[in-house]
Amino acid sequence: MRIFLSGIIISLSLAISHSVAAAEQVEIEPQKLADIKVNCVGMQVVLQKIQYNDAANRVNRGQAYESLVTRMMIPMNGRTAVNGLSSSTAVLAGITTRYQQKLDSFKNDYEKYDNSLTSALRIKCQQKPADFYKNIVDARKYRHNIANDVMELEQLIEDYYQAVIKLKSEL
């Protein structure tokens, strides 16, 4: 019991120190800090709307990505393997693996992004404008990562399409 409780306390303190360390990385000018203090309530409203829209977007994109891999890519890989097209199977399976890895990155990055947004929304921004803004900077960074994930996923989808066209020419 004591070990369990001390484990919880240690992990909590590590998490807090990590977030504090991350928050200390950004320097904000005093004028900007004052602007944030004045405008932050309005900013939180905008952030809330962004969070709601992103939630629907995440669900829609997630469903579409999952559907593409489970209903199109994996069955095609299986069929090429059954028909003895080993070289094409290797190429298609390679793209599928990279696609699944990138899909995992997309999910992880979204979770981090949503956590940062949630922190920015929960914070009493007029009392802690610096912390509020640091959460926005974090969210901005994670959103940028998500945008990269989306681009790379689109590229992999296109790569797979081209690989199937190549497979067709070999039949």
Partner: protein
């Protein structure tokens, strides 16, 4: 923290009581002899308030299971995708329902030019569906769209993501 320790202690005490109750019953039936510390003092109380004890035990078990399931719900990130949360009523309307029976491709069967053509059509259609959705434009979180200033900050370098 103190409160949670207190409740954990309470829960473990009640669990111990439950065990003692079981041990007492078994002993009563003279099938197996199990002796737990302090069972002589506690067991008569349990027998006397059997109904209350049963209800209490059921509530505690329910609470423990609820805490466990909610923890899983949050830790696994499912909560981020749950649009049935309060405040997400409008968002739910924007979610496209997945079409389960449409555009499925079988993993068995022959593979010829016609089949691949059909496959490519379905694949193209599904991949084009993705363009309907927003691509998480990073500029949306710049200072200007948030109503802070007209000078957007330069975007930070993307964090290296593990494959």
């Amino acid at each position: 923290m103190k409160k949670s320790i207190y409740y954990l202690k309470k829960a473990s005490n009640i669990g111990l009581l439950l065990l003692r109750n079981i041990a007492f019953k078994i002993k009563e039936q003279k099938k197996v002899l199990i002796k737990l510390p302090g069972s002589r003092k506690v067991a008569p109380l349990i027998v006397r308030y059997r109904l209350l004890f049963s209800i209490g035990s059921a509530i505690v078990v329910c609470l423990l299971l609820t805490v466990f399931s909610v923890s899983l719900y949050v830790i696994t990130g499912t909560s981020k995708l749950d649009l049935s949360r309060p405040g997400y009523e409008e968002v739910r309307k924007k979610v496209t329902r997945a079409t389960v029976n449409e555009s499925a491709f079988g993993s068995n069967g022959p593979l010829n030019a016609k089949i691949v053509n059909d496959y490519l059509k379905k694949y193209k259609k599904q991949s084009q569906d993705l363009s309907k959705y927003d691509n998480f434009d990073p500029k949306l979180l710049d200072d200007a769209p948030l109503g802070l200033s007209s000078d957007p900050l330069p975007l930070p370098e993307p964090e290296a993501t593990s494959p």
